[in-house]
Symmetry: C2
Subunit: 483 residues, 2 copies
């Protein structure tokens, strides 16, 4: 099928998604009607505008469904994240928050990529309809990345994700019915965890509104809060523990959570799980030991250490404290774990745990090879033997990540950002974490003071990171566009 027909069909899919998003704008609208928030008119206008224009576009782009090719897949995912960013920005511009075009786009992209960097200040006095909409963009973004990570990237062979094809462990089943079954379970489990998170947050004393918003931003590892102080607002150990638990769930591979929900454990547990949990424990331990010794470790300090580590490692980005003020190894350590990210197949971003495992395995094999140059080494992931090409693809993604970081850092320098803001901003965007380092964009700050050009560069970085970089760069490859 020629590229034009695929672009047509991709726009059609994007239009359908936008109609759905327009429908979800009725939720803050209804909230405004019931609770007297200020979002009635702006969300009505947004839903109507987006809904009507998407319907027109959707009708105009009707046609035969294209065969699923790699190119079609890449066009769809790129288009979806950009268009969703634009559509979700509409109520932020029209609504009581009155954001500028660039600010609204930044905030919306940060939402749907579940990054959680914000340009909004004085959240505590922001209209609830806007706060709810921000949280909703993250929840949908989480669902989007789960779909991407479980059903698209593994089949598009992006960055070694083919390791995680859901049917690989059971070749007897037909893929399509299994996909439909898996996606139903995915939605169900996502809803179950979200619901459990709402209940748990209310149990430790959040208002229903705060509980719903934070639950959506927690299970999606997004990180938008309804308070400027983020989780620092609650100042309560129990709340931090609930948050840490559900962020951790958001960072685990969803196929595992689905198996747990189905009350069956089949085959080997993905090695990512052990390494991911182990890295959280190790980092927290290093932080506790290395804490500059003024104050002793207490249960409270341990809770804050763990919460902030989980928040960054799962790429959520909630802050329970300004950890950049902890001194010593805290800042470099948080910088380093910003890269790590959660497990593949979760809502988390970053390099992903399995790429750390693969890099380590490759390093180990390379060191062995230096001693025995002519020996053949078998690469394994867990118990499974893996084609070295898959390992190489993982490494290429890691190198592309570091290369993108370098390019974005220089570009942000051109915009006038200082070095720490530029480098930590580019990493936090690419890894979809949220806060950066330094006084401006650190956990105690926000992104409002940055120039517009920097905000657009960071939004690009978030989408690059969310789509595993290569899915975006492939659009620049002439080979893709040749028939």
């Amino acid at each position: 099928m020629p590229a034009a027909a695929e672009i047509r069909a991709a726009i059609h899919i994007a239009a359908i998604v936008c109609i759905f998003l327009a429908g979800t704008m009725l939720v803050p609208l209804a909230g405004s009607a019931v609770f007297g928030w200020a979002g009635e008119w702006p969300f009505f206008v947004s839903a109507l505008t987006v809904g009507l224009s998407s319907t027109v576009v959707g009708f105009a782009t009707r046609g035969p469904a294209p065969r699923f090719t790699a190119r079609f897949g890449f066009i769809v995912v790129n288009l979806l994240w950009w268009v969703a960013g634009i559509v979700c920005a509409v109520p932020l511009m029209l609504g009581p928050a009155q954001l500028t075009l660039v600010d609204a786009f930044f905030e919306a992209v940060s939402g749907i990529t579940t990054t959680g960097s914000t340009v909004m200040v004085m959240l505590d006095s922001t209209d609830p309809s806007i706060l709810l909409w921000r949280s909703m963009t993250q929840w949908f973004g989480g669902l989007g990345i789960l779909t991407l990570g479980m059903f698209l990237l593994p089949y598009l062979n992006v960055g070694g994700m083919q390791l995680f094809r859901v049917e690989s462990s059971d070749r007897s089943e037909k893929p399509l019915p299994r996909f439909v079954d898996m996606s139903r379970w995915m939605l169900l489990v996502y809803l179950m965890i979200s619901g459990a998170c709402v209940v748990a947050f209310m149990g430790v004393g959040m208002t229903p509104f705060d509980a719903i918003n934070h639950a959506m931003a927690t299970v999606s590892t997004g990180g938008y809060s309804t308070h400027d102080a983020s989780f620092g607002y609650f100042d309560d150990n129990a709340t931090l523990w609930v948050g840490a638990l559900f962020m951790t769930l958001g960072g685990l591979p969803f196929p595992l959570l689905i198996m747990l929900a189905q009350l069956r454990i089949r085959g080997q547990i993905d090695p990512q799980v052990y390494v991911f949990l182990g890295l959280i424990a190790l980092t927290t331990l290093i932080l506790m030991i290395g804490r500059p010794g003024v104050e002793a470790n207490t249960f409270e300090s341990f809770t804050k250490d763990l919460f902030n580590v989980v928040s960054v490692m799962t790429t959520t980005g909630f802050a329970a404290d300004d950890y950049t003020k902890w001194g010593g190894l805290a800042v470099p350590l948080f910088f380093v774990i910003t890269f790590f990210g959660g497990c593949a197949g979760s809502t988390a971003g970053g390099l992903k745990t399995y790429r750390l495992i693969v890099s380590f395995e490759l390093l180990r094999a390379s060191l062995k090879q230096l001693s025995h140059p002519h020996a053949i080494f078998i690469m394994r992931y867990g118990r499974h033997r893996v084609d070295p090409a898959i390992f190489r693809a993982s490494m290429v993604m890691a190198v592309a990540f570091v290369g993108s970081m370098a390019a974005l850092t220089v570009a942000l320098g051109v915009c006038g950002l200082d070095f720490v803001t530029a480098i930590s901003g580019s990493v936090t965007a690419l890894a979809n974490v949220g806060p950066g380092l330094g006084d401006t964009i650190g956990p105690a700050g926000n992104f409002s003071a940055l120039p517009d050009a920097a905000k657009l560069i960071l939004a690009l970085g978030m989408i690059l990171g969310r789509l595993e970089i290569l899915s975006v760069l492939v659009l620049l490859s002439p080979a893709l566009w040749r028939s």
Copy 2:
């Protein structure tokens, strides 16, 4: 041969090198005698102590020469750089500089790894015997890395360096006579370039003493100066141009320079050359365009831009100006090019130009593969078809570099360094550049204020970087020690 016999033989080789180093201590001693410097007694004691003890160790470790195995090679290179660091530190402790043990070791390792980070202040009033010795350590270090890069690492298969086996283009010749021939030419060309550099520096007005010292630190891409202000002391365009020219020569592949000296160009020019020169030109251009617009570009500012870019890209580390005060993109840009480094087979450090080429080729092939998953792609380096395993080895080294950077950054954070000092310090050590960023270790500062633990960590980083990381890590691989 068992490991013990190989260690014995490696110590024997190290002892011979130390006897040679003790002999070279007679140069500052003679200088002191002739010119009345204060180094007579300390260099006499150092030469005697090192010479005698090395002779004793050399005698004690006599024995049959072992067959050359990979393990023997790794033991030798690791031992050599550590022992040379210790031996070269002796005059710095005993001499008029009176450095502490840790400071002297840091300074000596920074010398022999041609890094150029310094803990010494008030260089302008430091005794010339010490200044000369520092420059000499860099010149020897440059010779060491040329030997390593041309004759050892390619045969030890480290990090994809097997691409650069000197005999590969002409399989009819016997390797050993060709090695002897090549190493003679290597020494001759290194001497010729060094001599030419001395003459050129004197031609633009340096004193003979400054010219000799800076020539040794330039062709080795080391970066030690005899002035606190480094090249800023001379404040003269012609001097900067001469420096830039000879630093560039130091960053080019030596096999090419040897071919030029032999007045014959055979086969294809190593693609590194074009990319390396192209990156210098591109970075300088970006710097000129992106310069915060207060002052217009002049020939002088262009000269300073070019000099500093060449200085960092060749991993020399001379400073003509405090570029961290230029603002805007200067700091992120200099940070990024600190990673790049010069060509493999040169005296420069860093990731090396060919790894940038290989990474780019792999990325391009991966993007093509996303469009055509079942196509087979042939990897090339220049015109030569290359085994994908060599490409993978290059990537593993790049990933090990980034991983080491992360580990060192956290370790420096534990020592209490601020984030910018920690991250730029670890990169500048691993890439063997010299200056870092920030007020402490930036181009206008030095490493004297750091705690001892940080200095030792940085010295480890320099040796890691100099030996391409994997050559050091392999010592931790159990496979190496199995017979």
